[in-house]
Amino acid sequence: MRNLWQLLVRNHVFILFLVLQAFALAWVTRSHGHPRGMWVRWSLGWTGAWNAQLTEWARLGQLEADNVRLAQENAELRAQLMHEDAHGHAAEVVQISWHRAANSFIVNRGASDSIAPGQAVVCAAGALGRVVEVHDRYALGLPLLHTELEWSGRIGKDGVIGRVVWDGDAADVGRMLDIARSAQIAVGDTVFTTGYQGIFPADIPMGYVQRVTQNPSDEFLTVHLRWAVDFRSIRYVEILAVPAMPAFTPSTSDV
C-alpha cells in the first residue's frame, strides 16, 4: 500500500495530466465539430462582431450597399424558387475556415433575424452548410467541409442517391459513396441535394463529378466531385428556413 502511495506521489504530475487530458479529449469528442451551448453563444457574440469589423475593414471602398441590396433580393427570389414556403435571409460570411478537419463559418445574421439552428445556408453557386448555433446578431454554421458530417446527394435531378462526405484533405473536392456499380454517371454531372435530411431543399448543386472509381472491397462506386462552392472566396449567402414537411397521412383510396 505504501509503495502504491509512493508511486502515486512520485508520478502525481503525470497522473493529473492523464485525468485532465481525459476531460479535454471528452470535450473534444462531445463538441468537436458541433460547437453548441452557452459558451459558444457568448463567444459568438463578440467574435462575430470582431470578424464583421475585420470584414468591413478588408472591404472598404467596395460597393457595399448595392451588394447587400442585391444579395437580399437574390435570397428572396432563390427561396421562392427552391420552395414555395421557404423564407430566405441574405447574410454575409464574416469568418470561415477550410483548413481544419472540422470547419465552421460565422454569418452576420442571428436570432433577431429569425435564424435558427438547422437552417440551410446556400449561395449562388450551391450548398454551403447548415446553422448549428445562433447569437442575437450572428450565427455559427458547419460547411460541407467537415469530416464528421454526411450529406445526402443525388446525381442529376433524377439519378442515384448516395452519401456525400469530405475526407479532410483538399478543400475543393469531396466524395460520394454507396453508388451502385450499375449507375450511369458521366464526368461533369451535377450532384444535387436530395432534400431528405430536412436541411437543404432538393435540387441545390453540391458539386460536379470529376471521376468515378470502383471500390476494390465491395460492389460500390466512389464518385469524386469538385464542390460547387469555392469555400475560400465565399462572401454572400442565403439562409433558408424550410418549413417541416407535413406528416404523411395515406387516404383510404390509396390502400
Binding site: V13, F17, L25, H99
Partner: protein, 172 residues
C-alpha cells in the same frame, strides 16, 4: 510581484493577440497556423514546479478554446506542452544547470538554446493539436507536416517579438 504582474499581462496580451489577430492569419490551407498564445508559456521561468506548467498550459488552452470555438483542442494541446515543457528544459540544460531564477533568455542561454527550446515546446503543442484534430489514421501524415510547419512559423514569430521587446528594453 512585478514579475507576476508582467507574466499575467503577457498571458493576457498573447491570448488577445491569438484570438483577434493570429486566429485569422491561417495561411496555405492550414499548413501555416500561428499559435501565438504560446508566447507567454514559452517565457515562463525554467525552474518552476512541473505541475505549474501543466495547469497554466491547460488554463491557457481553455481560454483559447472558448474564444476560438476550439472545442477542447487547445486545452488538450496546452496540457501536452505543459507536461513536456519541464522535460524539454531539462533536456537542453547546460552542464552546470539553470540558476534558481532563470528564464528563457537568449542573452543568458544563447540563441541556439532559445531556438531549440521554443521550437520543441511549440511543436509538442502543435503536434498534439493537429493529431487530435485529425482524428483519423489517414490524416496523420498531413497533421505531422502541418504541426512542423506551423511550429517553425510560430517559433520565428515568438523569437521575433521577444527580440523586439529585448531591443526596446536595452535601448531604454
Amino acid at each position: 510581484m512585478e514579475g507576476t504582474l508582467r507574466t499575467l499581462l503577457r498571458f493576457l496580451l498573447a491570448w488577445l493577440a491569438q484570438t483577434f489577430v493570429f486566429h485569422h492569419l491561417v495561411l496555405l490551407d492550414g499548413w501555416i497556423t500561428p499559435l501565438f498564445s504560446l508566447y507567454a508559456l514559452v517565457l515562463l521561468p525554467l525552474r518552476w514546479r512541473p505541475i505549474a506548467y501543466l495547469l497554466i498550459g491547460g488554463a491557457m488552452g481553455v481560454l483559447t478554446d472558448l474564444s476560438t470555438f476550439g472545442g477542447g483542442l487547445f486545452t488538450a494541446a496546452g496540457l501536452m506542452s505543459g507536461l513536456l515543457q519541464p522535460w524539454i528544459a531539462r533536456l537542453l540544460a547546460p552542464r552546470e544547470g539553470y540558476e534558481a531564477d532563470a528564464t528563457p533568455d537568449a542573452g543568458a542561454l544563447g540563441w541556439g538554446w532559445m531556438l531549440a527550446y521554443t521550437f520543441l515546446v511549440v511543436w509538442a503543442h502543435a503536434l498534439w493539436l493537429f493529431l487530435v484534430e485529425a482524428g483519423r489514421w489517414d490524416l496523420i501524415p498531413k497533421a505531422l507536416g502541418q504541426s512542423a510547419s506551423s511550429a517553425a512559423l510560430t517559433t520565428v514569430l515568438i523569437l521575433g517579438v521577444r527580440s523586439l521587446f529585448n531591443q526596446n528594453r536595452s535601448q531604454r
